[in-house]
Amino acid sequence: MADPASVPRPRWDVLAAVGAGGALGSLARYGLSVAIPHPRGQFAFSTFATNVSGCLLIGVLMASLTAAAEPHRLLRPFLGVGILGGYTTFSTYATDTLDLVTAGRPFTGLAYAFGTVAAALVAVYAGHEITRAVKK
């Protein structure tokens, strides 16, 4: 186990890339939630679409970065940690699930909770494998 004092200190440009990406990704998520609103207690299609598309894109991104000869060192912090991390959300997924349960729709809540995870995992796998196949 490493000494906690040995945590690598990230450079300021990496933190700036993460922060700028997080801001842009969050704006995109907010934009989608405004474009596809859902009344309280209804299936949250915008959060579902955000999380599944973000997972597809991170599969594409990570396979592309692995295939690249020398990816720019700020690409992963900006695009992966920042934009896709800020775009997708686990906290809204969790409270969307509770909304459905507390609105008296526990089965829709379960379908939303498990459906999002299942679709997201299929999406990240598909994004990764398709990109790898294309890059070969």
Partner: protein
């Protein structure tokens, strides 16, 4: 103003997520994605509290855009959770991937419920 708050909260949340992940990697190693689990639990519990406050009708718009949409959304992540689960499945053990998926779902939703109950206890 709303867009500025969403961007500020989201950017700051992403930086906190990144630093938390670095620290937990150094502390706990990379056998299990503790950092992502931690930020997802933290983001879900805070959003649970904020949701309870909003249901009570007391939450200002600025708090919603800066903290609920921006910070909690930027702090928590589904894409990294998905990618790390895939990595565990293909590179470590399938059991660890299943444990990560189930633990993140259960702990994240549980944390949001605990936050909601806390808010109900405070504001009702």
């Amino acid at each position: 103003m709303t867009l500025l708050f969403v961007a500020l909260g989201g950017g700051f949340g992403a930086i906190v997520r990144f630093l938390t992940d670095l620290r937990l990697r150094a502390w706990r190693g990379v056998a299990f994605p503790w950092g992502t689990l931690a930020v997802n639990i933290a983001g879900s519990s805070l959003l649970g509290v904020l949701t309870g406050w909003a249901l009570h009708g007391g939450q200002p718009d600025g708090v919603r855009s800066l903290l609920a949409v921006g910070f909690c959304g930027g702090l928590s992540t589904f894409s990294t959770f998905g990618y790390e689960t895939l990595r565990l499945f293909t590179e470590k053990t399938r059991a660890r991937a299943v444990v990560n998926a189930v633990a993140t779902m259960a702990a994240g939703i549980g944390a949001a419920a605990a936050g909601l109950l806390l808010a109900v206890a405070i504001w009702h």
